[in-house]
Symmetry: C2
Subunit: 304 residues, 2 copies
């Protein structure tokens, strides 16, 4: 005989599929728990894995590393000066890159990233983008949902030569924010570089909130802690994007139902954070409803 | 001489005004901290203030109250039966209502509210709506942004006879979800009752996520812990709402810029949770941007 009590309703297939994407993107909790706080000017601005801490400890003139439960990795070089701090760290990173000891530094970008207490705070340190996950500092980026007729989405396929996530499905336009850049400026710049979207069209992109996650670096050496500002750009059906910087292999206009089916499917086709930004857009546009069992948990998970 | 270090940028006036609304709505943290967990079937499903716990302790056959740091208020009547539990609690509430000891019970609604571990869980208990804040249980509701031409919002003025927030500005349609009701059904029902919106128009309302907050009850006896599902309903300019149940004094179509100006102003005109649902809509529609200093904190605060 069956149990009499009514069981919890099973998660809807839509929510279950979406939650899988959110978990894949937010898989950094484990490594974050083992990490040491990264202190700059007395503030905890990042998280350093045990592996990374061990390597940084070999530069005691720049980093003071105290292991253990109440330990930390503290930047001790450069005093209060942004420039001197950044130069001291850059010198360490250059040596680590040359030594080949830290895998993620193979993805060197020559892009300056600000390390800040919060989004509006002044930079306390500027580091090479490829080292962001080494220090586990919060990074900020912008993703653009390129929407046509309200029911189609431009999907890019990343070039196979990309250092990160080669060949994965991506937004028409997405990028990290460089030091000193504002979100709206970033969107217009990346629109031009990545998809040849002219500035007058690009500037019609509308901000719609953000997603947040903590992702384990593929190398196992660190975590990416990202805030991604989500933009929606309604695009005329006549516009066809083209790559301007070789980072995209091809663009295709997908029916939103195909996007949903692919996100729900058990595939590894999507760059993880792109999937989460699209799910946020589906929530905002009512393509998933509170009637889908697990909706509340899903929506909560987009910002944690 | 001025200090040389660059100060944190000041919050934008828009964000500062909106944050004031969010804080007014989410003012329950203090009372929540002093409260005892409310246990039903071994699960903590609410929070009971010291004042409420003292009164509930006078019904030891229904509630076991252990005060102090590790204390709790436990429902001990009714065993595993939803019906028996609910009846036992209803008897206590009827006696408290008759006694006049608990101010919030003066707002008796004769509406059954489910007490659940999460939104999709089965009800563990059903209580009169007016007692929700007495037990500090999570409640669920739906609010509808009635939007015309993408830049105007229908604003209701609550009747002066309403038990809660008389005379305050409100959504065209907003309501709590009764036991057994689904969000989409709730929206269509309330659209008809509150604003005479016909079902075919009401069913075009699109879900767009939710806000969450913990609000101190006006009486000081408890907290309202709400999840409000946000719906956008694009309405034809020809439709004019009218109250069907006497709960609304009047409706007016506001330019969205006037809505923003009123929300930013230092007034007490808005029902607090209505303001937060509108701010969520402004975020989703790009009427506030990441360039507004404090944006990230504001957006985070909408769901906590």
């Amino acid at each position: 005989m069956r149990a009499m009590c009514r069981p919890f309703a099973a998660q809807s297939p839509l929510v279950a599929g979406f939650m899988r994407r959110v978990r894949t993107c937010g898989n950094g909790a484990g490594i974050l728990q083992q990490s040491l706080p990264f202190l700059v000017g007395g503030q905890a601005l990042g998280s350093v894995s045990p592996l990374a801490a061990e390597v940084l400890a070999t530069f005691p003139e720049v980093f003071s590393v105290s292991p253990g439960k109440d330990g930390a990795v503290e930047l001790v070089a450069g005093g209060d000066s942004l420039e001197a701090r950044s130069e001291a760290v850059a010198n360490v990173l250059a040596r680590l890159r040359a030594s080949g000891r830290v895998p993620m530094l193979a993805g060197w970008r020559d892009e300056a990233w600000p390390v800040k207490a919060d989004f509006d705070a002044p930079a306390a340190l500027v580091v090479e983008r490829a080292a962001g996950a080494l220090f586990g500092v919060r990074a900020y980026g912008c993703h653009v949902n390129g929407i046509v007729d309200g029911n189609k989405l431009w999907v890019a396929k990343r070039a196979k030569t990309k250092q990160t996530f080669p060949g994965k499905l991506d937004h028409i336009v997405a990028g990290g924010m460089a030091h000193g850049e504002k979100p709206g400026e970033n969107v217009v710049r990346e629109c031009g570089e990545e998809a040849s979207v002219p500035p007058d069209l690009a500037s019609a992109a509308r901000p719609a909130g953000f997603i947040e996650y903590c992702q384990a670096d593929e190398s196992g050496w660190g975590v990416t802690r990202d805030v991604i500002f989500c933009y929606d750009l309604e695009m005329p059906a006549t516009f066809v994007p083209s790559s301007n910087d070789g980072e995209v292999e091809s663009f295709a206009l997908w029916d939103i139902r195909d996007v949903i089916a692919s996100l729900v499917a058990d595939n590894d086709d999507w760059k993880p954070n792109v999937a989460v930004v699209i799910i946020d857009m589906l929530v905002r546009r009512g393509l998933i409803a509170p009637e889908n069992v697990g909706y509340v948990e899903l929506v909560r998970s987009l910002r944690t």
